[in-house]
Symmetry: C2
Subunit: 412 residues, 2 copies
Amino acid sequence: MTPPIAIDPAAIERYVRELAEHGACGQTGVCRPAYSPAWVAAQEQVGAWCAGAGLTTWQDAAGSVWGRLAGSEPGPVVATGSHIDSVVPGGRYDGALGVIAGILAVRALRERHGPPRRSIDVVSFAQEENSRFPRSGLWSSRSITGLARPEELDTIRTYEGETLRAVLRSVGLDPGEMLSARRDDIAAFIELHVEQGPVLEEAGLAVGIVDAITGSSTFNVTITGRADHAGGCPMDLRRDPMTAVVPIVDGVLRTARAMGRPAVTTVGRMLVEPNLSGIVPEHVFFTVNARHPFLDGYDELRARHTALLEQVRAAHPELGIDWTVGAGPPTPCDPGMVRLLEDTAREQGIATLTMPSGGGHDTQVMAGICPSVMIFVQSRDGRSHTPDEYTAPEHAAAGVQLLAAALHRLAY
Amino acid sequence: MTPPIAIDPAAIERYVRELAEHGACGQTGVCRPAYSPAWVAAQEQVGAWCAGAGLTTWQDAAGSVWGRLAGSEPGPVVATGSHIDSVVPGGRYDGALGVIAGILAVRALRERHGPPRRSIDVVSFAQEENSRFPRSGLWSSRSITGLARPEELDTIRTYEGETLRAVLRSVGLDPGEMLSARRDDIAAFIELHVEQGPVLEEAGLAVGIVDAITGSSTFNVTITGRADHAGGCPMDLRRDPMTAVVPIVDGVLRTARAMGRPAVTTVGRMLVEPNLSGIVPEHVFFTVNARHPFLDGYDELRARHTALLEQVRAAHPELGIDWTVGAGPPTPCDPGMVRLLEDTAREQGIATLTMPSGGGHDTQVMAGICPSVMIFVQSRDGRSHTPDEYTAPEHAAAGVQLLAAALHRLAY
């Protein structure tokens, strides 16, 4: 049994605020897209903290910063970490808290228990969000796990059109070395992250244990009608895309509500052309994002949305209704790792909820090479991807305590 | 009885193409916002054509170009015309055809019948569209009828923020003289315009006679919810504006369809914030534009839309649902002028349909100072406010023939 490992909430808060100075925007916001100057400075800060905690540090070819507390025995390592790149504008906690948690947990273990048997690696991933590269996230974990392909260096581009290859070079990384980022010596991975919803707050708990990471499908729907004058064209002669937008949006939201938790569907993006009050739209484009953490529910949700789209298309021969689907299936967390966290939490006296993650995370990639799991900490009002993000220091400390105790079990 | 007045379709087509060179964009488009360099050149062209047709020409303080065929008797004049400013991008016919029609009709009358008893004025209005000044259209007809107020010179601004006063000065007009544009000597006004819908084409007719100009109300609706993570927040804890957008859009379109022609309602503009596929919207803004050419129907349509908005607001206490309404009531055309056109069309052997106008026009303003009416000509596929606008020369010629014959009745 691992003795209780007290973590100082004030230290967490201090680290969070200090890291947030890199890319600070507004009162509490962070604008730190991957490989930006603010991101470079923040990764240097992470490296300095790792060194200060007695870890050996290095940066891999994808830009991830690693810090190692060397073990007394050879063999695979135990790893923990998260990302410090942000959406624009994002908050101080998403990703960043998991990197800080790793450093503070390992520092606490070293101070109390000395060197571990197995080495413990803390990682600060390079590119988790797709805030700079719209068609890509998770580049650094995909590099670590061998999923990243060299040709992507030229196909992944920023919103402005710059290739990933050029961006990596601009921060002193060598794209030709990308395959060297691959790791095959990681035995287990744990990521601590703020919950991106209000479930823990609703349950009155500080900490959650993630048993599955959501699958996420996005239907990119385009409906094409005919742009008519809003006064000149009678209703019965129109080909108005809005007449098909309504039953689709209505239906997909109803389906997710009817299936109940943890099914969710969101229509978050809509573009109307020409978007004038006096013109019937020619085109309406919108997204239907459907998520479910378990394969059965994920497949059912997708199938019901697809059936509805086909039904509305059949009912509106006067319109062009087309869609593409970007799909990523759910990833179960390792059951053994989930049990290890549940047992450790009980030992440490931390009440937890085992729950799925509704967001995607580097952990879903890491799960491809080793048993992986996540720890969630409560986020006030469930805020996420906004400068409003806030996690109380004592909630964060409970999560870091669980992380440290779990690492102790795995590495000592 | 007025003898048939043959109008050469080829001449119309030649004038249309020549005027479209000013502000030409794309293969068939026209980008000619009011007071732009292209508009200045086009107004000069109109003045030159008027002079060439034997008319005395001048420009008033709002920028309208006038051409007069002087009558043998003193007293009020008969006027015809339309506008040459365009939406961006617009087509060759909207407005322009009515100016060309006036010039060709008066030229034909002068050649066949000599000077009239009453003077006939052809007018090319200055600013009918709101393509440059988003909060204002109809400036020049409002100046002619005394509705334009001097303080508007500083409150009406372009999309870029320039005042109307500065814009008028930039093209050599004197804003201090704006009140001089007022006319109180117009006895009757006829505007020829392309239909902005497919009704004449559906009926197989070249020419329509407008008995009413639509009323138009725009509800600017804002729905505010809460931006949640598309995966992290369960459906039952969301405050998603889309859940209220759906019944409102559905309901207003159903109401207009149920009321039948000539009621129309359009949801043409929608903006979502933050407009990301992975975030539940915080705000959705959209327009509900409701039009009806007769007061009873106009009032009923507005009342039913208002009742629906209130009902959806009551059903969604978790959302903020607010709206403002910009309203312009319908304008009946002068019944005597409608009958005059109907009688004249029969005499000339032109089959017509008496119909309302679904778009707003300078005629609705001119109706405030004199008996006014409009002639519609068929627009292929009902296209309007697009480079796709096209009116067959022979259809246009039938409309110009009716215009000329009506002017003959009124002025000879």
